[in-house]
């Protein structure tokens, strides 16, 4: 080790000990970003900011929230909403951010799918990102339980029941998860722990891993061009900024990011102040009642598409129980995106508009997810049940066809 003689209490001495300039270079001024990108590449920074907003608003809620079935509902709806100065603001910030974070996650995800940013060296970015999606889903679900309203209770009852595998009399996994025969005090307290401690810890670790996995392979670009980062960086550092295909993360890329972030924050705070109701289900303002199921149960909008695949098959097929088929497709829906890089059999990284069949596949998937989401909120009766069934079938067929479609695109291009 080079011994450092400069005083610990001097700027120079501190810099020598921490090597901050080198770290700043690696992470910021010499972390190269392609020029050929659009506003969709700003979603990562938007997500990081939204997560920070969730943590900050969550800290203020945490100081008055009481994780006890007798106290939880009033601690939210009376103490926080009416007594705590700006308590309503922190609750609405938290609720709206929890909803909006999924909107941005979906945009971020489908940007990655559209531009093929998940293969040939970028698989780990995709997988760590999908693990983040799973962690955020668990975080959203556990947080939804805390106000202990009717929707909180019944969402908890229905989702923990998935672990009964359709059997209610089995003493075992469900009771263990709940800490009782039904969702109750023990359930609330343990999900409170998960929501405010364990899951945020896991999310923070996953975010670090997600950054790490993309720092070395670098991000994709609009035309999916394979950039020689060393050569382009050299051009940029030599002063040929116009010729170079890359810019440094800081200050160039982030300045554009901050512009997008500014627009996003205007949109977000508009929702927080003037349109927060979409994130505050009216049914959840009735206190939890284990003896009365609300007339109609539905999850928050971001879970609707997978919820609809659960109830899509409403009749037995080939001797298989309708409920079991739904459960299998639901489980598949949760995990299938994780293995996307391995279902795409096209060896080239290309944006979807240069892969004709995949382009159609992509938009059919988006439309199908929208249809599933709309019908996931409607009561499952009559024609609604059939639309749900067909949309679920399309969802299943899309995934089965993905390897063949991508392969056929590659063959038509002569890449295979």
């Amino acid at each position: 080790m080079a011994e450092i003689t400069e005083s610990f209490f001097s700027a120079d001495g501190l810099e020598k000990r921490l090597n901050g300039k080198k770290f700043w270079k690696v992470m910021m001024t010499e972390y190269w970003i392609p020029k050929d990108i659009n506003f969709l590449w700003a979603m990562g920074v938007v997500l990081a900011t939204t997560f920070a907003l969730l943590i900050i608003s969550g800290i203020f809620l945490l100081m008055y929230y009481k994780p006890d079935t007798a106290l939880a509902f009033d601690s939210v709806n009376y103490t926080i909403m009416q007594e705590v100065a700006y308590g309503w603001l922190f609750r609405h910030m938290h609720g709206v951010a929890a909803s909006v974070v999924f909107l941005i996650i979906y945009i971020h995800m489908f940007t990655g799918i559209y531009y093929g940013s998940y293969k040939k060296g970028r698989e780990m970015i995709w997988i760590s990102g999908m693990l983040l999606f799973v962690a955020f889903s668990a975080e959203g679900f556990s947080g939804y339980m805390l106000p202990w309203g009717q929707m909180s209770y019944w969402a908890a009852a229905v989702i923990t029941n998935l672990f009964a595998g359709g059997s209610l009399e089995a003493y075992g996994l469900v009771e263990w998860i709940r800490g009782g025969f039904a969702v109750g005090d023990a359930t609330l307290t343990r999900f409170f722990m998960l929501h405010v401690f364990l899951l945020p810890l896991i999310i923070i670790k996953l975010i670090v891993i997600h950054f790490y996995t993309l720092r070395i392979p670098h991000i994709n670009n609009q035309s999916s061009e394979d950039i020689d980062y060393d050569a382009e960086a050299e051009k940029y550092l030599a002063g040929n900024k116009k010729e170079s295909k890359v810019v440094p993360f800081w200050p160039v890329f982030l300045s554009k990011d901050f512009a997008v972030l500014g627009l996003f924050l205007l949109f977000y705070f508009y929702l927080v102040f003037f349109n927060y109701n979409f994130a505050m289900d009216p049914v959840n303002f009735d206190p939890a009642n284990p003896m009365k199921t609300p007339a109609h149960i539905y999850p928050e909008w971001y879970f609707l598409w997978s919820y609809e695949t659960l109830r899509g098959p409403f009749f037995d097929i080939l001797g298989m129980r309708a409920g079991d088929i739904g459960l299998i497709i639901f489980a598949l829906a949760q995990g299938i995106f994780l293995i996307f890089p391995f279902l795409d059999r096209d060896p080239d990284i290309l944006p979807a508009h240069k892969r004709p069949k995949f382009f159609i596949w992509f938009w059919v998937l988006i439309i199908d997810l929208v249809v599933l989401s709309i019908y996931g909120k409607l009561p499952p009766t009559g024609a609604n049940a059939w639309v749900g069934f067909y949309a679920t079938t399309v969802f299943l067929l899309l995934w089965i066809s993905l390897p063949f479609i991508t392969k056929s695109d590659a063959k038509a291009r002569g890449a295979l």
Binding site: W154, N161, G179, G323
Partner: protein, 169 residues
């Protein structure tokens, strides 16, 4: 241990053994900490006297047992007899856990069947599934019968017979 094993291997293996034992032990502890508490288990018994609840034939009542609803329906003479009925004197009852066997919502009684609001499942007066995703009939809770008094939480001959009839039916 072979002659090639050196001191560092020995230390490594010793540590692995200690860590494995400690790791398994702590997993057991953590699993047990999440189990339902003894007080929760002990509170799992409910007594209902059928002669004192003013049941109207054809209109079920709901009671709470272990935080779950229990449906008790006294059948009218029009309703079909079923092997899974609880028969006391000349009266026939349907007794079931009032949770849809699909995902556990509480179905509501509507004229002659229970209909579930969550995913559209329906159960007839016997508690058998007749529409939608429920994979099987409403579950029979364990209970004992003493005259007209039902005690939920204990396995009794009547509830066993009802469960059996339901599997066959």
């Amino acid at each position: 241990m072979s002659n090639q094993t050196n001191r560092r291997d020995f230390l490594g293996m010793s540590f692995a053994a200690i860590a494995a034992v400690g790791g398994i032990a702590s997993l057991v502890g953590m699993k047990r900490a999440w189990d339902p508490l003894p007080s929760v288990l002990a509170a799992g018994f409910t007594t209902i006297d059928l002669s004192k609840i003013n049941l109207v034939p054809g209109t079920p009542q709901t009671f709470a047992w272990r935080g779950k609803p229990i449906f008790i329906l006294e059948k009218t003479s029009d309703m079909a007899k079923f092997d899974g009925d609880l028969v006391i004197a000349d009266k026939r009852y349907t007794v079931a856990v009032g949770l849809c066997t699909h995902l556990g919502c509480i179905p509501a009684w509507n004229k002659d069947k229970w209909k579930c609001a969550c995913h559209g499942g329906a159960f007839n007066a016997n508690g058998q599934q007749v529409f939608g995703p429920p994979p099987k009939p409403l579950v029979i809770p364990p209970f004992t019968v003493n005259g007209t008094i039902l005690t939920f939480g204990y396995e009794g001959t009547e509830s066993k017979a009802m469960i059996k009839a339901r599997v066959q039916g």
